[in-house]
Amino acid sequence: MAIGESQLDGDGGPSEDVEAQFGWRYTFGKVMQDTTARWGLYVVAFVLFVSAYTMVDSNLSRLTFGAVSDFAMAEALPIFDHPERIPPPGEIEGNVPPAFHVDGTLSHPLGTDPDGRDYFTRIVYGAQVSVSVGIVSTLIGFVGGTIVGAVSGFYGGRVDDVLMRLVETVYAIPPLILIIVFTVFISGGTPDITYAIIGVGITFIPVFARIIRSEVLSVREMDYIEAAKASGVKNRNIIRRHVIPNSFAPVLVYATLQIGVTILIVAGLSFLGFGAQPPTPDWGQMLNVSHGYMHSNVWLSIWPGMAILVTIMGFNLFGDGLQDALDPRTND
Amino acid sequence: MAEPLLRVENLKTQFFTDAGTVRAVDGISFEVHEGEIVGLVGESGAGKSVASMSLLRLIESPGEIVGGEITYKGETIFGLEEGPDGDLQRRDDMLSNEEMRTRIRGNEIAVIFQDPMESLNPVFTVGGQLREFIELNRDLAKREAKREAIRMLREVGIPDPEQRYEEYPHQFSGGMRQRVLIAMALACEPSLIIADEPTTALDVTVEGQIIELVDDLQEKYGTSFIWVTHDMGVVAEICDRVNVMYLGEIVEQAPVDDLFHATKHPYTNALLNSMPRPDRTVEELDPIEGVMPEAISPPSGCRFHPRCPDAREVCQRVHPEAKVVDQADGHSHRAACVKHDVFDAGYDESVPLEAEPQVTAGTPGGGEDR
């Protein structure tokens, strides 16, 4: 958000600043006014916190996905670091039901998976994967899309034609299929979560490009752009001072919603076995494993799905709230 | 004088918003007689459109008619009475929503809206929409309704009406669409047509055509009109009697000639003086200072006093109701200004207010504390 802020205030600050009602603080206030958006923000903040915490606190999981021994993973979360809960080697019990079940135990609130790993810990760690995937891929799409979209929107003409034709074509192949094919091919047949992130990111570049282009085009139509041009402001400054700050907000909303979509797609990829690979605790991948235990342990299939649902819902609620807050029609 | 076609007494319509109650229409009274064109003129925000929609009881939430009485041909469109527990409640003889829909809207009182581009549904043919309204309001069978629709299209000067009947609104120019809307209004054979800024969106030559058309048709059909506009030129051109609105109130009510040539309210006067004229060169315009305040917090006393060149101290205190200040052609000339003797509010003795230079340079309009 600092981009917009610095655009506004970068001119040797006026002394008696009346609060910028179109600024970010105002937007934030409007988001907080809306109950659903506020809850969305809480959920997003919670998930972000959890994933950040697991990243920072565990020296074992620092080497990212899959490099961590799963037993150590169970140990990694301090609040559950009670000796009685850690099964000594050789006595691992798989498929323990959750705590509220008659056969459950409090030491494994959500039970254990077939390999005897604490399911709660794995779900918590799953946040790390989902959130990084969501944010990193969206960022790739966002940055790539901004470059393509801005170039296309500004220069118009032939460049625009070619780029948009390309975007359209990419649009015509369902994203999930394109991503699977892309991921498998770039990884040379051995898919991995890193390839999935890159694959999703690149596939969404056209989507972002399209959004940004149409935003840029609509801002370009505004009279104040023409006014700046008529005043002899250089093109570069028109882009920097007018176009970017004004087209940024809707794109930001879109990006927020897109994080949810990305998480959804990567979950699907992992579920099919083209994303995170075992033993990485990824929600989609966990669902893939649990698919084989549907008859014996129902719970294994429920928790990861719930986690995905809550996370995505958080981003969606927050995105919707942001959209309402930034909608000029509600600003009057 | 005969019983008027429409009588509006002390009508109040308010909008209940988060920021407070907006008194969009605040106690207006006027009459419309058979065969006359009554103007409702004012600047944007004066409440003239809300007033006209109130007549059909077509105010949408959060707006509501909260007081007054509207009588049309002896029937009560809106009326309140005091209930047994002292609360105001709707009178028994007030028309029900269903009666309003089937008996009043369209077939007794029709409307023409400002924006001919938006008023027609883009996905239906012009003829189909016209026919639907005719079928509904005149109990004609489909085929007859179609014949009538084509007849009306020709009547309002649409060339080749059989062909145009089958076309869609986007195939019509703005002026042609406004003609279609006029055809709709007339085809339902109402006694009263409310025209809400019908020529504002049109070019001047087209405006001229439309005014001429309405004038001819009005003569032919004898329909009464309420003509809502902000344009004094159009008022002078077409209206018989005029109501000037300012901030939810009618400040002056007079036959058209008197309004322009024996103006009794400083607002009307100031409005006329601030207008450049097409028929003679005005070297110096005399603008009204400041901007119209928001209807959410109107000024005390006379609502016009902060901008009024004639304002005196008394104007801040006394809120004038429009009173008869003159008679002309059998119609009374009312004005809501205490400088007239009938008000007897001590205007002459009162101290003139210092002209406040604030307003043009003044504080930006509202909305700061959001």
Partner: protein, 448 residues
């Protein structure tokens, strides 16, 4: 930084004296390429890919316009929507690329300038926009908005700019303390004042005002117009004032140009144009405006039909298809009355404004029973037969209700309308003015 010394001072006429030509537009054309409507609005917008080759058409928005603007005056440019007046304004400013023609400003041809040279030049020419909502960037403070043109031309330092911006805000009638407010806190009239301050910030000589007051209420309009007048005097400004409202034009302009369908049809000093209009379109415009005086009723729509498409404008005089004074074609012997009847009939047939009737009835309706004599009469008779209900027109597929509208239209237009001088030559005549001494140009063959 040489301009810095001029802070707040009056313009010293650099090389153009007051009353001399500051801007000269010569043969200016602006054509737009029309995208085929066929392809617009598709969901996977393949909109620009040509399907089957559909020829691109040109919208002749401004077509061969010439006039000059003198230093210190206001030239009013008036016309109805779609006549090309805004396009003309933007083309003069070089916000649009001219298709052809010259725009000379202080001796430079703006149409030839490009890139940095053009950008530099922009400090001398500014613009004020119609829409007070979209002409100010909602994310900027009004101080920044007013300073922006100065920054673009490296005028003054930060402090100096702020000082000048505050000075200008005061000049246009705003409180300089509102320097840090955002535009949405201001009303429409106040925003137009910010627009004015922005335009003035670089001390321009020439300002194009595109409908600056048409979005405002009458009482606010007068305030803004008065301010603009004061500023013109104080800063020695030259205005090109574009508007559709003839009353505002009459009040504000010194000279007036009337536009119709991409052409200037009449140009004269204000008093002369309003009191002695010589082009039938100008007359029609003036007759149509409702006068705010009930004792002067009679504002009427004297024009028939609608403005033709600028894709394919009429030849010769652009106004001829609607002109109430279309000149009779040579080669026939008419009385004035006969020609008037024939003209009315021709247009009624073309627009199909009447219901078909028998030949005798048609004759009575349009000609009072007597057809013109000679060849003209024969043509009229032919046409009447084609649209008569009691004549057998054969089984032509084009017929509607058994009446050959198309055939009759073609017959009449070919024989009469296209034979008139109005459709053959483009008019441009100079007229002796009755009011004042300025040049009066009218593009109408009645003055040949």
């Amino acid at each position: 930084m040489s301009r810095a010394s001029e802070l707040g001072s009056e313009m010293t006429g650099e090389d153009v004296a007051f009353g001399d030509t500051l801007v000269e537009v010569d043969g200016l054309k602006k054509y737009f390429t029309q995208e085929s409507g066929l392809l617009s609005g598709l969901s996977i917008d393949t909109d620009e890919f040509p399907p089957i080759s559909v020829g691109r058409q040109h919208v002749k928005a401004v077509d061969d316009v010439s006039f000059e603007i003198r230093r210190g005056e206001t030239l009013g440019l008036v016309g109805e929507s779609g006549c090309g007046k805004s396009t003309l304004g933007r083309t003069i400013l070089r916000l649009l690329e001219p298709t052809e023609g010259r725009i000379s400003f202080k001796g430079d041809d703006l149409a030839e300038l490009d890139g940095e040279a053009l950008r530099q030049k922009r400090s001398e020419i500014q613009m004020i926009f119609q829409d007070p909502q979209s002409s100010l960037d909602p994310r900027m403070k009004i101080g920044q908005i007013v300073e922006e043109p100065m920054r673009a031309h490296d005028m003054l330092d930060d402090d100096g700019r702020e000082q000048r911006a505050k000075m200008l805000l005061e000049k246009v009638g705003l409180d300089p303390h509102h320097y840090n407010r955002h535009p949405h806190a201001f009303s429409g009239g106040q925003r137009q004042r910010v627009n004015l301050a922005r335009a003035l910030s670089v001390n321009p000589d020439f300002i194009v005002c595109d409908e600056p007051v048409s979005a405002l209420d009458v009482s606010i309009q007068a305030q803004v117009l008065n301010t603009m007048e004061e500023l013109q005097e104080e800063f020695g400004l030259t205005y090109l004032f574009i508007a559709h409202d003839l009353s505002v034009i009459r009040h504000f302009s010194d000279r007036v140009a009337v536009m119709y369908l991409g052409n200037v049809v009449e140009l004269a000093e204000k008093e002369e144009l309003f009191e002695n209009p010589q082009h039938p379109y100008t007359k029609a415009l003036l007759d149509s405006i409702p006068v705010p005086d009930p004792r002067e009723r009679g504002a009427r729509g004297v024009l028939e039909g609608e403005v033709p498409s600028p894709l394919d404008p009429p030849s010769g005089c652009r106004f001829r298809t609607r002109c109430p004074r279309l000149i009779a074609p040579e080669g026939y012997e008419w009385t004035d009355e006969e020609w008037e009847h024939a003209r009315t009939f021709m247009r009624a047939v073309k627009r199909r404004t009447f219901e078909p009737m028998t030949a005798a009835e048609t004759r009575a309706e349009f000609f009072g029973g007597d057809l013109p004599r000679g060849e003209a009469g024969e043509i009229v008779a032919d046409a009447i037969d084609l649209v008569a209900t009691d004549r057998d027109n054969g089984d032509d597929a084009e017929l509607e209700d058994g009446v050959n509208w198309a055939g009759a239209t073609e017959r009449l237009l070919e024989s009469f309308a296209e034979e008139s001088i109005c459709s053959q030559e483009r008019p441009d005549y100079e007229i002796e003015p009755q009011y004042g001494t300025g040049v009066h140009r009218a593009a109408c063959h009645l003055h040949r």
